[in-house]
């Protein structure tokens, strides 16, 4: 076995450990499925942790503005993988904070949609597929991240987390974010997707010199210039690129702190 395989095994074992800890300690958890490459790997890891089962609901907080390919993927694989899928809509744009820049405001719908879904089902924990290497504020996250009553993130007062001991005690009405792939990189995700043969949405592969590196709402997500039409080619591209992964996600770049404002309010 190569060092690269060992490394993927280590990442996988750590994620399985996190999944099992969360499931043992929380009463009602759900997995947030954004249909992207990361959350597909996450579902795969959950099935590894629970021997082929996903023993909790899978939640898609739907903005209604995803790509058609994403909806097709969701409908097909939720059946094939036997998921307990819950689809919940987001509130309309008009209800969002008008002081936010336009794309950020649009993305804020997802935060509100999530809040409504949490209330509706009474989940005390949601599993989210964010990674430290994606974005600066996500690098600050804990594996178990307790949220305030409004779903807000108090980045200044995060509790310590060490030796795989996680903070899981919450005030009534608050919820926990669980991040089982926080320690993975974009490159790891693709190498693992390839090794495990995990299905992906074709939008990630280059067509006419462009591909999506990160998938979000159609109106605020843009493709990057690329010739990578297979996973192998994506791996080569990622080894040399200096373009950040989320450069095609408009809400990250509207103002210096737009993404941070979203996250403090409870965005993923």
């Amino acid at each position: 076995m190569s060092t690269a395989d060992d490394r993927l095994d280590e990442l996988e074992a750590q994620s399985i450990y996190i999944f099992r800890e969360a499931f043992a300690r929380m009463k009602r958890m759900a997995l947030l499925w954004s249909l992207g490459k990361d959350s597909n790997v996450m579902i795969w890891l959950a099935r590894k942790a629970f021997l082929g089962h996903v023993p909790f609901p899978v939640l898609h907080v739907d903005t209604g503005r995803k790509f058609r390919e994403m909806y097709d993927f969701r409908d097909h694989y939720s059946r094939e993988w036997g998921l307990d899928l819950r689809v919940d809509p987001c509130p309309p744009l008009e209800q969002m904070d008008p002081t936010l820049p336009p794309a950020t405001r649009s993305a804020a719908r997802k935060t509100e949609g999530l809040k409504l879904a949490l209330e509706k089902y009474g989940f005390d924990a949601v599993v989210a597929g964010i990674r430290r290497d994606e974005e600066a504020t996500r690098a600050k996250e804990r594996v178990f991240s307790p949220r305030g009553l409004e779903g807000d993130w108090n980045v200044r007062e995060q509790p310590p987390e060490f030796w795989d001991h996680f903070n899981a005690t919450l005030p009534a009405g608050a919820h926990l974010r669980v991040h089982p792939i926080l320690h993975w990189t974009e490159l790891d995700i693709w190498a693992y997707t390839k090794r495990e043969n995990i299905p992906v949405i074709p939008l990630y592969f280059a067509k006419d010199g462009k591909r999506y590196r990160s998938l979000g709402d159609q109106d605020i997500t843009f493709p990057v210039a690329s010739e990578a039409a297979t996973i192998d080619e994506i791996l080569v591209e990622l080894a040399t690129t200096k373009v950040p992964e989320r450069s095609g996600r408009a809400m990250d770049h509207e103002s210096e702190d737009s993404f941070e404002r979203l996250r403090v309010a409870g965005y993923l």
């Binding site: 099992r20 043992a24 942790a49 023993p55 290497d133 600066a136 060490f162 990189t185 950040p244």
Partner: protein
């Protein structure tokens, strides 16, 4: 961070066989960590052009010169204050390693974040400002590296430009820090003089330090090895859960140390149950003949056993010849992060691997301020201090001394639902009563013929001990009697144990000296525990001034112990003086009277405080009744399920 900076010098993709090493940079605030990291990223292959442009724009907008540290301090709040608040991670490559750099804040305020970052590291760079030398926080971080188990440490003396690259300055710092670390059992691999701002000694040998012949920072990074899960130690697999999938009972966990194979005999501690490993389960289901038959340290495991035994989360799987000890008493060297000091009587949750247990501090042996290198006599471990304590656990857990197994020889401590400290198990003490008489070894307690469930079904309540502690005259007995009436009327099996009543008979041989008080307390605890076991809700009203004695009772009783502090100001108690005792104590007729000439150690974290100067009697009774109801004492509950209900 620039965690979205994965800096890869146009390297071939084949780089699959590179070692991945996690490194933390620690040290005093303002000693230049973020600058060193910015410099390292720059020297090892460049940072995305877009990122640099973005940071330049931010610097310009703030009217500041370009700072490498802005790369890391990417949160708005950090840019405003100029210090790193939380930990972030950055990747880059040296000639033979993939490095994950964990930046940890140097400010004392954020020690919890430094610990969060450093606990994930294989190796550490300890940074010291040449102009300032070794500081409090340098020492504190050195000490924490030792406690966190980071064994590979390189010291970097930064800002050599500010001392004109003076060798004498460097050598003085070098010998001081080497001596300090050696005292902790940490050996610094090398001490390197650099200027991160100017670039000397980072990627290239500084021409301004010709007297230094050692490696550059990059060369030192290249020598670090990943810390592997210890294969060579005895098998330890803490149980995370027992699942019931597809008609199989599956014991799930992670192998922390050692290895395991199908057909091996294993034993679970603390229950002592044994079985043989039948299969190792994996998904996707492997083809016939391709099944996994052995696992090693670091692997996630899912096992089936050859027989139906009841094991639960928190137990540790091992081999019969080298099993961890089952204990209710451990001595721990710990770091403490909470505002509230840790002292005798403090009640915590202790987590060792996957086990969870209530723990009470029974003794504080030593307190160290690692910043000042001083050990002092104290009964309290304050925030950011280090110390040694003895913990009494509410139920037995499996534990190893840290020197035998670092993974199952360390605990995290939770206060008020939040991780507040952690430490190494220095020794695993006997879980029995503090001083068992020699004859106790030959005693075999006889189990009751009536089960706990049968008692529950008949009485409608679970056994519990409500321990009312407080000054004489605070209202304990009054409250206990009213509570007894209330619980009796609701149909509970309730028993009142009054300290004075017991002193009249069972404890009539005891006085009020410290040793007698302790024995009085012990007997009260044992009697209460016995009655609890028979299904009684036992109400104990006793001054019980010693926090340590109460902690011991808590440990004896185990779950279902409710410490209630019945509190009233001393002046009020003295004014009430229902038994005329204060008057006698004041007159010198009684010696060692609690509150007058003997101390009362108020509980730090009781289950409840009832302030009898502010609440009327009925409200006090309401609170205690609600506490018991909330804890499920009055509910008829089925026996605990033996799996997660899947």
């Amino acid at each position: 961070m620039s965690a979205n900076v994965t800096v890869l010098p146009s390297a071939p993709v084949d780089a699959a066989d590179r070692q991945l090493v996690r490194i933390v940079i620690v040290g005093h605030v303002d000693h230049g960590k973020s600058t060193l990291i910015g410099r390292l990223l720059h020297e090892t292959g460049g940072i995305p052009a877009a990122k640099i442009e973005h940071l330049k724009a931010i610097s310009a907008r703030r009217g500041m010169p370009f700072e490498w540290s802005f790369l890391l301090d990417s949160l708005q709040a950090e840019r405003d204050q100029g210090i790193t608040i939380d930990t972030s991670q950055i990747r880059f490559r040296t000639p033979s390693r993939d490095i994950i750099l964990i930046d940890a804040p140097g400010h004392a305020e954020f020690l919890r974040n430094m610990i969060t970052g450093a606990s994930q590291a294989d190796a550490a760079l300890l940074l010291i400002d040449a102009a300032e030398g070794v500081r409090d926080q340098t020492r504190r971080h050195g000490y924490l590296l030792h406690l966190l188990g980071v064994r590979q440490v390189t010291v970097v003396v930064n800002k050599m430009d500010r001392v004109d690259y003076d060798e004498a300055v460097f050598r003085a710092i070098e010998s001081e820090i080497i001596a300090y670390l050696a005292g902790l059992g940490v050996q610094a691999s090398v001490v390197i003089p650099i200027s991160a701002r100017e670039g000397d000694g980072v990627a290239t040998r500084g021409t301004r330090t010709p007297w230094f012949t050692g490696p550059t920072v990059l060369e030192a990074l290249d020598q670090f090895e990943p810390a592997r899960a210890p294969q060579e130690l005895a098998l330890r697999m803490p149980v995370q859960a027992v699942y019931k999938f597809d008609d199989r009972r599956i014991v799930a966990g992670r192998i922390e140390t050692g290895g395991l194979s199908v057909g091996q005999e294993v034993v679970f501690q603390p229950s002592g149950k044994s079985a043989v490993v039948k299969t190792i389960e994996t998904w996707p289901v492997p083809a016939a003949g391709e099944e996994v038959t052995a696992l090693h340290a670091g692997n996630a495991a899912a096992l089936t056993l050859d027989r139906e035994i009841f094991v639960e989360r928190g137990e540790i799987l091992s081999v019969p010849s080298a099993r961890p000890r089952a204990t209710r008493r451990i001595r721990v060297r710990l770091f403490w992060l909470a505002e509230e000091a840790l002292e005798v009587g403090t009640t915590l949750i202790a987590r060792l691997a996957t086990s969870e247990s209530r723990a009470t501090v029974a003794a504080v042996h030593e307190v160290v301020d690692p910043g000042h290198l001083s050990t002092f006599e104290s009964k309290r471990i304050g925030r950011n201090q280090v110390g040694e304590v003895e913990l009494l656990l509410s139920r037995p857990i499996a534990a190893d001394p840290h020197r035998l197994n670092p993974r199952t020889g360390r605990v995290a401590l939770e206060l008020g639902g939040r991780i507040a400290g952690g430490g190494l198990v220095i020794s695993v003490l006997d879980g029995e009563a503090a001083q068992p008489a020699p004859a106790a070894r030959h005693i075999t307690p006889v189990a009751s013929a009536v089960t706990r469930e049968e008692r529950l079904a008949r009485f409608g309540n679970a056994g519990a001990v409500v321990w009312l502690t407080g000054l004489s005259g605070s209202g304990k007995s009054t409250l206990a009697r009213a509570l007894e009436r209330r619980l009796f009327d609701r149909g509970a099996l309730v028993t009142l144990l009054d300290g004075d009543t017991l002193r009249a008979g069972l404890n009539s041989d005891l006085g009020f000296f410290d040793a007698d008080r302790a024995e009085n307390n012990r007997r009260l605890g044992e009697v209460a525990s016995l009655l609890k076991g028979l299904g009684h809700v036992v109400l104990v009203a006793a001054v019980s001034p010693s926090a340590q004695a109460r902690a011991q009772v808590r440990a004896v009783v185990g779950p279902g112990f409710f410490e209630v502090h019945v509190s009233a100001p001393l002046e009020l108690c003295e004014q009430r003086d229902p038994k005329g005792l204060y008057a006698k104590a004041r007159a010198g007729e009684i010696r060692g009277f609690t509150g007058i000439d003997a101390p009362y150690e108020a509980p730090i974290t009781p289950e409840l405080v009832v302030e009898t100067d502010k609440l009327d009697l009925a409200a006090g009774v309401d609170r205690i009744e609600a506490l018991l109801a909330e804890a499920g004492v009055f509910q008829l509950r089925p026996a605990a399920a033996d799996d997660t209900g899947l």
